[in-house]
Amino acid sequence: MTISLSIFIPFIAAIFVPFLYKRIQSRKIGWFVLLVPLMLFATLASFIPSIAKGETYSHTFRWIESAGIHFTTYLDGLSLIFGLLITGVGSLVILYSIYYLSERESLGRFYVYLLLFMGAMLGVVLSDNLMVLYVFWELTSISSFLLIAFWYHRKKSRYGAQKSMLITVSGGIAMLAGFIMLHTMTGTYSVREIVVTIGQYTDEPLFVFAMLLVLLGAFTKSAQFPFHIWLPDAMEAPTPVSAYLHSATMVKAGIYLVARFTPIFGGEMTWFYIVSSVGIFTLFWGSFNAVKQTDLKALLAYSTISQLGLVMSLFGLGSAALNEGHSANSIIYAQATFAALFHLINHSTFKGALFMVVGILDHELGTRDVRRLGGLMAFMPVTFSIALIGSFSMAGLPPFNGFLSKEMFFESLVNARNLELFDVGTMGTIFLIVAWLASVFTFVYSMIIVFQTFFGEFQPERIEKPSREAPFGMLVAPSILAILVIGIFFFPNSIGNYLLRPAMAAVYPTLAGAEGLTPQIVAWHGFNSPALLMTIGVIILGAVLYKFYRYWRGIYTIAPMTWNLDAAFNANLILLEKASHFFTRLYMKGYLKDYLVYIFSFFIVVVGGAILYTGSYTFDFSNDAPITANEYLIVLAMVVAGLSMLFAKSRMTAIILNGVLGYSIAFFFVVFRAPDLALTQAVVETVTTALFLLCFYFLPDWKKERSPIRTKLLNGLIAFAAGTIVTVLALTVQGNKMFESISVYFEDSYQLAGGKNIVNTILGDFRAFDTMLEVVVLFIAGIGVFTLIKLKTRKEGQDFEDQ
C-alpha cells in the first residue's frame, strides 16, 4: 500500500507545484520539491532491512478484470535498488538544480516535469503488471521529451527532444507488442506469474518474437547500438536533467527491463548472444567515440552509452546461469549479474558526480569545450577533486568503486570464456578482447576529463566568465556522490549484503538462497588474478594512447568512421515526411464535398458489401406493428423537408429544413414512447440549429453549384446508394436476429443499479465507463474549439509557435 502510494506522490506533488509557483516565484520552490524525493527515499530505505531478509511486498488494486490489468506494485531487491537510485539521485539533482537554474527560467514547469518523470520511473520499476509498466514506460519517454525541450526556443533542443521521443517510443511500441505476445502465450500480464509458468511455453513460435520485441524496447531506451544516437542529442537538456534522466535513471530502465525479464527469457541462447554482444559492441563503440568529443557533455553522453553497454553485456553473460539450474557453474556465471548490479549503482554515483561537475564548469565559465578549458585546478579545487574521483572511478582505478566493479567485469568475461554452453569458444575470446580495448578507451577519455580540463595551461582569454569556485550549494550534491564513490570502495559488502543479495534473488528466483550467489567483494585478488593483470594492461596502454593522442587521432576521419548513423536517421525522417506528404496530398483536397464522397463510398462498400456477403437482405415484416396515419404524416413531412432542402436557395432555409427533419424524429420518438430520446433529440436539435446559424453567419452566400453533369450524377448515385443501404440495414436488423437480444439483462435495473430508468442506469452505471470517457471527449472537444478560435493567427499576426 505504501509502495503503491509512493508512485502517486510525485504526480500529486506535480499538481500542486504550479499553484505554489504562483505564490513563490523564486528558486526557493525547489526546497519544497526536494521534500518529495527525500521522503520517498526514506520510505524506500526503511524497507531495506526486511527486503535484505528475503521478504517481498506486493499490493494490488483490482482494476480491469476482463483484460487482466490490475494496478499491482511489487517491491523486491531489484526494484528496491532502482527505487533508491531514482529517489536518491533525484534528491541530489533537485538540490543541485536549486542552484543551477536561475530564477528567470520557468522553474514551475521544470519541477513539474521532473516530478512527472520521477513518478513515472517509480511506476516502471515498481509495477508488476506489464500493461501498467508499459504506460509508465512511455510516460518516462514523454517527460524526457518535455525536459530535453525545456529550452524549446533552441532549435537543437527541439531536434534532440523529437529524436529521443521517436526512437524510445517506437521501441516502446515494439515492447508493447512483445508484452501482448507474452499475454497470448501465458494468459497473464503479471511478471511474477509469467516467470512461474514460462517454462512450458519456450517452444512456442511467439516466444522468440516476444523476446526480440521486448529487447528492442530495452535497447532503444538504454541507448544500445544502433539506437544510441538519441542520447548525445538529448544532452541539450539542462545539465541536472542529463545527470538524472540520461545517465542515472531513465536510460537504466532498459537495463531494468532486461534484468526483470532474465528469469523469463534468460537461459536461452538467443537472449544470451543478443544481449551480451549488443552490450559489448555498445561498450566499445561508445568509449571509442567518446575520446574524439570536444564537448565535455557529449563526451559524457558517449561514455554513458558505453557504460550502459557494459552493464547490459554483464546481464547477458549472467543469463547463462539459468540454463543449467542448480550447479556450481551456474553460480559462477551468475557473478556477471552481480557485477552488473554493482556497476549499475557505481555508475550512478560517479557519472552523476561527473555530470554535475560539467554543469558547474558550464555554469561558472560559460563553456564546456575541452579545447578552451585548462589549468582550472588552482581556481576550482573542490570541483577538481570531485572530477578526479569520478573520472578515476570510471577508468577503473583504486581506491574508487569503479575499480571493484570493473575487476568483476573482467572476471566475468574470463569465466564466460570457459562457458560450456552455446558453443561460446571463440566468441568468448572476442568478447574479452573487445571489452578490454573498450576499457582502454574508457581510461583515455577519463584522463581527458581530468587532465585537459584541470591541468595544463590556463587560457583566460578563451573563457567567457572569470573563473572561480562554484557556490557552496552547487557543490553539495556532487560532493555527496563523490564521497559515496570512495565509501563504496571501502565498504562494498554492506551494499552487497543489503541491496545486491535480494536483487540477485529477484533475478534468479530458481537459484535463490544458493551458496555463494552473492560473493564477498574484495579489492585484492592477488597478483596472479587475470582481472588485475587486465587492469594494469589498461592503465599502461591507456596512458600511452592518451600521451600520443594527436598521432592516432586520424583514425576518426577514415572511411568507416565517417559513416554516420545520425545522417541516416535524418535522411529517413525527411523521406518519411516527404512520402506521407505526397500520399496525404493525393486525397486531402480541402473540399468538404470530396470528403463526403470518400465517407459515403466507404460506407457503401463496407456495409453494402457486408449485407451482400452475409446474405441478410431478406426482410421479415411479420412481427411489425401496423403503421398508423400520424406516422405517415410525419414521414411525409420529412420527405418534403428533405426534398426541398435540395432546392433551397439560402443557407438559412436549408438549416431550418434540417431542423424540421430533426424535430420530426423527435416526434417519432414520442409516438414510439421513448420520452428520454424525444427530449434529448428535441434539445439537441435546438442547440445544434442555433450553432449552425451562428457558424453559417460567417460564411459567404450560397452560390449555385457549377459542376459537370457527370459529377452531379455520380454524387446523386452515391447519395441514393447510401440511403438505400441505410434503409435496407434498418429492415434487416428488424428481421434477422443473429443472436439473442441482451436487453433482458437491463430489465431488472432496479435490483442491479438501483434506478428505475433503464436508459439512465445504462448511462450512469452499467456502461458508466463509456459515459465518463464521452464526457472527457466532449470536454476536450470544447477546449479544442476554444483554442482553435482564440489562439488562431490574427491577420498579419505572428504564429504562436514562432514567438
Binding site: T680, L691, A753, N757, N760, A768, T771, V775
Partner: protein
C-alpha cells in the same frame, strides 16, 4: 448580434427561469423517470443559448460571470473523480453507491454517487456547449 426586441426580451426573462427549473427537474428525476444528466445539461445550456440570442454576449457575461470552460473542467473532474473515488474504497473503478437518508426538508431521500457522476455530465455539457457557442459568436 444584437436584437432589440422588447417583447422577446421580456418573455425571455421569465422563460429562462422556467427552462432552468425544468433542466434541474429533469436532472433530478433522471434516476427513476425520464431525464438525467445529459438532457438536464442540454436544457440548461439551451437556456443560456436563448439568453445569448436575445441579449448580446457582453450583457449576458455581466449577468452570469462564470467561466464556462472552468465549469466544463469541473464537470469532467467530477465524472472521472467518482470513478477514482470508488477505486480508493477498494471497489471496482466507477462502482456507484447509494443509500437512503432522512433529510430535514425532503424527508426520506435516496442519495447516491450516481448523482455526482450525472452532475459531472451535466456540468460538462453546459460548459462545453456554452463555451463553443460563445467563442464562435465572439469571433467576428
Amino acid at each position: 448580434m444584437k436584437i432589440n426586441d422588447v417583447i422577446l426580451q421580456t418573455v425571455t426573462k421569465i422563460v429562462v427561469f422556467i427552462i432552468l427549473t425544468f433542466g434541474v427537474e429533469l436532472f433530478l428525476s433522471g434516476h427513476n423517470n425520464p431525464g438525467g444528466g445529459f438532457i438536464g445539461g442540454l436544457v440548461l445550456s439551451s437556456a443560456f443559448v436563448l439568453l445569448y440570442l436575445v441579449h448580446d454576449i457582453e450583457t449576458v457575461h455581466k449577468g452570469i460571470p462564470f467561466d464556462f470552460k472552468k465549469i466544463a473542467a469541473l464537470g469532467a473532474f467530477l465524472a472521472v473523480g467518482t470513478g477514482i473515488g470508488s477505486a480508493l474504497f477498494g471497489k471496482h473503478f466507477l462502482t456507484q453507491a447509494a443509500g437512503h437518508f432522512t433529510l430535514p426538508v425532503f424527508g426520506e431521500t435516496e442519495l447516491s454517487t450516481v448523482l455526482v457522476f450525472e452532475a459531472g455530465v451535466a456540468l460538462t455539457v453546459v460548459g462545453v456547449v456554452v463555451t463553443i457557442i460563445s467563442t464562435i459568436s465572439e469571433d467576428v
